[in-house]
Each structure stands twice: as C-alpha cells, then as structure tokens.
C-alpha cells in the first residue's frame, strides 16, 4: 500500500516560481501547502564562505549534489534540480520585458501576441521586484517604463562601468545599470551585498535565492516541504478530468510507493520538467499526455539567441572590479522597426572584461616566457580596456521546437527522459541574417564612435538562453495549454507557473518575468 501525503495545494518543484507561489498563497493562511522537490534541500548559508573559497581556488561546485544522477534531459537545460532550482546559480539579473514583447504580432506582423499586455503584468512585475528585492536605477522612462521606483536603491556604478558608459554612449545609445536581485540595503532579513563578485555563490546572502523564502516559510510553519521526492506521474480522479494524486518516488525509499493527494496541483518545475511530467502522465483519456488535448504540451519552446562581442576601448580600465556588474540598454527593443523596415529587436549589455589581456607564457613569436617577462608582457597588453558586449535577440518560437519523451533514454527508475529540440520558426529563419547583421552594425557603431575596434564577434548558434515554453498560455484551448492565468484548459485543478507558460522569450533575461507571471497566477488561484 502506498504511503500517502495530503495537502490542499501541491506545488511540484521548488525553484524561484515555486517560492513566489508558496509565499503568496501562504499569506492567505487558510490552505495547507505542500512543496515537493525531487532534488536535495541545500540550506547552506553558514557554509558559503568556505564553499566560495573552494570555488575560487579549485572551481568546485559551490552547490554540491544539486542534481540527480541519471535525471537528465538531452538538449538545452540545467542539471540543477534542488530546492532553489536554477536560481541557486543565477547572477540575480532582473530586467523586465518591454511592452512590445507582448504584442509583436500586432506591432510587427511576426510571432505571437500574449493574451494580455505589459500593463496587465506591470503590477506583478513590481510585486516580484519587491519579493525578490530588486535594486535598480531606472533607465529613461520611454525605454524602461515602470509605475514605481525600484524597491531597493541601485548599486553605484563601478569605476570601470562609469568609464564604459561614457565611452559607449558616444554612439548615442543610452545605457543604464542592469537591475539585480541583490541587496543594497538590509532587506527581508538578508544582508547587504559586499561585492564579493562571486554571485554564483553569494557568501553574505545578499543575492536572492529561493531557499531563503522556503526556510522562512518552513520556520513559520506556513508550508510543508519534502525533498528527494521525484514525482513520476499525475493521475486523474475516476471519471473526471481533475487531478486526483501524484505518484512519487522517495529517493531514500525507492521501493515504497508514495501518493501525494491534493485539491489543487501546480506545476512549478521549470520549462523542461513541467512538460515532461505532463507527457509522462498519459492515460487512456489523454493518450498524448495530460493537459494535451491541443497537442501543444512541450511545443513552442523558445529562448533568445546571444550575439557576443569584445570591443577594445581606448580607456584605462582595471578588470577585477566586480566583473558581474553590467550596463543595459533597451534602445533596440522599443524601436518601431529596424533598418530597411524589417523586424529587429534586441537588448544590449556591457561588462568590464580582460578578453585578450590574460597573462600568457608564449609571446607572439612562440617564445616561452618565464619570470618577470610574463608580467612585463601582460602589462604591455593591458594598457587599453575591453568591453564585453552581448545582444539577445528573440527567436520566435516554432511549433516544432519541442520537448518530447526520448525513446532511447530512461532514468534509473525506468521513466523516459526528456529530449529537447529547439527549432527557429520560419519568421526567425527568414530574419536571422538580417538581425545578426543589424547587431553587428550596432557594435561597429559603438566601436567607431568611441575610437575602438571589434576584437571578436560571435553568434552563439547552439544557445537559446533563458528558455521557456512548452505549456504556453492563451485564451484559445486549441492553440495553448494553459489559459491566460495559468490554469490548464483541460484540468480545472491543475495550474502551471513560470517559464513553461511564456508565449515568447523576449530579448531580456527571463527570471523576473517568470516570477511576475507566477504571482499573477497566484492571485488568480487565490481568487478562485
């Protein structure tokens, strides 16, 4: 007989979307909330200084065992599967999408409109910024619209970024500090950033990571959390389309079956594993997977493609001053149309860099350098500065861009693993050369205006960054998996939150948008 765990709301996954959802739902206080995570619980603030030192010295994973052996997807995704999710490793970058991202079809005749506008999401953007603790300095209002100031004051620009901002703005492209979920003042019980410049392992806890939210909720007994519990299937109630329970595997007692029962189920497992679980849950009535009458579960997965560049700038810079800090511009996201009237939208970021200026042991003639000759050579090559730049442009999702069950790979417990195949839509295929050419011209414009030069330019072919989709939202059940609020069209007590629900991936880092979407869903769940 199966061990049974019961709750009112069962949240599957314990990443940033789950943290936002659990916190907001718990504030109503009337329902028993259970968070189920397949990976480990890593609450390690007191170990982080030591972990950071080993990361710096040896490159060790500061979040050891943040993954499950054998539970892997083939394709672009993270191996991280733990309480905190991918956001354990994130850099805390939290820009919003722009209003145009929600209306690209109406405005530009390409891609898909979202079922709501930026204005509809704006209050939830702010709520997400408050809950995460986003520090920012607003950009020009016409480029960076927002109804309220950032919850936390922005970081002062480093010397390097101040110089790079002046230099890059000679091109008449405005830049401003990239907003981040890091404390510039004590906030929500967490410390102020000490600019350790190892944001993948923040030793002070100034950077938001979801396990802080879960720790607080657990201490206050507002939620229950079980980790190392892999949910393998969702099962419908007899004669109904409602989800009755989840079949799970306790990784510490794999021979003891577990059933998790709830009134409401929420998939908060990220873009890959949310679709994967729905596909795994196929049954007689839903032979293609739950929530999949449309046939779109796992489809329309998307991300943005990066175009990287390193530009030499005639500046004296000092690499090593908080290399994670950056400048942002949305100048090319709000443009009505690109050059020649064709659709081009992308963001722009700038970081300090030491590209091409690292110490070396062979000179240009191939002679081996030793002793002070290495330092002398390094000094000579470091007289001018380098800007690392990156543009994300949106890849318009294609139906064929999909997560499927891999017929050739199973996890250690016999379940088919996901396979992810990204495909550009016909729109993106047609626009690609033009888009990348336009981005190149932007880099050339910045270099020329600042009397610099492009040292390197690379389109990252294999990357669809900040991926999402697979359970895309929409008003029409024939063309979407969940409704505009995140509820599955096919199952009244099943919701999906965060990255899987996006319609398109915009041109900015996605985490804040995933969090805002989740909070919007949480409001709807509360109302229902």
């Amino acid at each position: 007989m199966a061990r049974t765990i019961e709750a009112d709301v069962v949240i599957l996954g314990a990443g940033i979307s789950a943290a936002m959802l659990a916190e907001k739902l718990s504030e109503a206080g009337s329902e028993k909330i259970l968070v189920v995570e397949a990976g480990n619980k890593i609450f390690n603030l007191d170990e982080r200084t030591a972990r950071r030192e080993r990361f710096l010295a040896y490159g060790e994973n500061p979040w050891p065992d943040d993954h499950i052996r054998g539970q892997t997807a083939k394709g672009i995704t993270s191996r991280t599967m733990a309480v905190g999710g991918l956001a354990l490793h994130w850099g805390g970058t939290t820009p919003r999408y722009t209003p145009e991202d929600f209306r690209v079809h109406s405005l530009y005749g390409v891609g898909y409109d979202w079922p709501f506008s930026y204005d509809d999401l704006e209050p939830f953007y702010f709520e997400a910024e408050e809950r995460l603790g986003v520090a920012g300095t607003p950009g020009p209002p016409e480029l960076d619209p927002r109804s309220k100031p950032y919850p936390l004051p922005g970081f002062p620009l480093t010397y390097n970024l101040t110089e790079l901002k002046k230099w890059a703005e000679k091109s008449e492209i405005p830049f401003w500090p990239n907003p981040v979920a890091k404390n510039t003042i004590p906030y929500r019980g967490r410390n102020v950033c000490m600019r350790c410049d190892t944001c993948n392992i923040c030793p002070t806890g100034a950077k938001y990571t979801p396990e802080f939210t879960f720790q607080k909720l657990l201490e206050e007994k507002k939620v229950d959390l079980v980790d190392r519990m892999l949910v393998r299937k969702l099962v419908l109630a007899e004669g109904s389309d409602r989800i009755d329970h989840a079949v799970a595997l306790d990784r510490d007692k794999p021979d003891e079956p577990v059933e998790i029962r709830g009134k409401t189920f929420v998939l908060a497992s990220g873009y890959c594993w949310s679709s994967h679980l729905l596909l795994l849950s196929a049954n007689d009535r839903f032979p293609d997977g739950l929530a999949n009458r449309s046939g779109l579960v796992g489809k329309y997965v998307t991300g943005h493609r990066p175009v990287h560049a390193f530009l030499e700038a005639p500046l004296r810079l000092y690499p090593g001053m908080f290399a994670g800090d950056s400048l942002l511009s949305k100048h090319f996201q709000r443009a009505k149309a690109g050059h020649q009237g064709r659709y081009v939208r992308h963001d722009l970021r700038i970081w300090e860099s030491s590209f091409g200026r690292d110490p070396r042991i062979q000179d240009d003639q191939g002679a081996l350098l030793l002793g002070d000759a290495i330092l002398d050579d390094w000094r000579k090559r470091s007289k001018t500065g380098v800007a690392r730049m990156r543009a994300y442009y949106d890849v318009i999702p294609a139906r064929e861009s999909a997560i499927t069950l891999d017929p050739e790979r199973k996890n250690p417990w016999g379940d088919p693993l996901p396979r992810i195949d990204f495909v550009d839509s016909d729109w993106s295929k047609e626009l690609r050369e033009h888009t990348e050419s336009e981005i190149r011209s932007v880099y050339e414009r910045i270099a020329a205006a600042g009397h610099g030069k492009i040292l390197s330019l690379e389109v990252d072919d294999k990357t669809y960054d900040h991926p999402g989709g697979g359970c895309r939202m929409g008003a029409d059940p024939a063309t979407s998996v969940v409704d505009p609020l995140g509820r599955a069209h096919d199952h009244e007590n099943l919701w999906v939150v965060g990255a899987p629900t996006i319609v398109s991936s915009g041109c900015n880092n996605g985490t804040l948008t995933f969090a805002a979407l989740t909070l919007r869903t949480a409001s709807a769940m509360g109302a229902s």
């Binding site: 991918l86 490793h89 102020v192 042991i361 030793l370």
Partner: protein
Amino acid sequence: MSENARRTFMKTGAALASALALPSCARENSQETAAAPAGKPQTLAAVAAIVLPAASLGEDGVRRVVEGFRKWLDELEPVAELDHAYIFTDEILYGPPDPEPLWRAQLEALELEAEKRHDASFDAIPREEQEALLRRQLPSNPGTGLPDPARAPHVALGLLAYFYQTGEANDLCYERAIERTTCRGVESGASEPPARRS
C-alpha cells in the same frame, strides 16, 4: 592525494619555505635533512625564483606564493565535482586526478639532471643553468595561455597558473589595489582603484 603523500608534500613545502630565507651555505646544509620522496625542498623554491616575477614580488613575495601553492595543493580534492553553468549543463564535470605524484617526479627529475650534468643539486647550479635545465624539461609546446592549475602538465606551470589566478597577480599587472574577489562594501569600487600596496 593519499594522506602519506599529502603529508610529505606539506613537510617538504614547509621546509622549502624556510629554506628560501636561508643563505646559500645554510641551504646546502639543510639538504641533508630534506624529506626524501618529494625531493629536496629547495628544488621548488629554485623553480619559483625562475618562473615567478621575482623582481616584482621580492624574495618574501616569492616565498609567500610558494607557501600558498603548497597549501593549495595540499587542500586540493582530486576529481572534485566542478561548478556548472546556470542553464547549460549537459553533464556534471569532475576535476583532474591529484597532480602531486607527477609534479613530485618532475622536481626529482630536475635534481637528477642537475646531478648528471653538473654534479650538483639543482639549487646549487648557476641561475642561467637552472633556467636552461628547466626549459629543457618543460613541455615543448605548453600553449599560449596558462592552464587550469590542477591540470598543469608540469609543476612549474602549475605554480605559474596558481599565481596568475590570484588577485595579487592582477594587482601587480595593473599596479593598483583592485583586490579582485575581495569582499568589501556596497559603495566600494566607484573610484579608480588606489595604487597597489607594496
């Protein structure tokens, strides 16, 4: 690294750190008491004086780097789980095996060649001969950049790679107190970094 080997390297390292501070006649005497398996402690010290920027670091600085390198090697965990990217993680990667046995053998090889060519220990032969000998034993094409320290194919390159990933090396290059990866205040970094503290 086995516990025995680790302890041996530690012992040798501690001895070489002391040896660096000694005048040459005292170093000759200290050879008699050096720990055997890791070679004479002076060997690594002599290698450090050749490959590190000794003119900029000074004798104390070179000794400090060698001590740091020894501690780093002592605390290295072979085949450790390595950090992985935020999103793109096809597989979990693990670090290399313990480089200490290879590096120990390379230090011993420097001694052997010095004995065979000069009938003297490596640290006792002239500086130019030391460098020539070391260059002969380094890989013929070590590449342009510095390797991951733990994957360095030669102990001299391991020492170099270890040093040049430190904030101290970065400060030496720019001659400013940038103090990379030093935790400090939220307001810091807004001004041009001050001159490096010597």
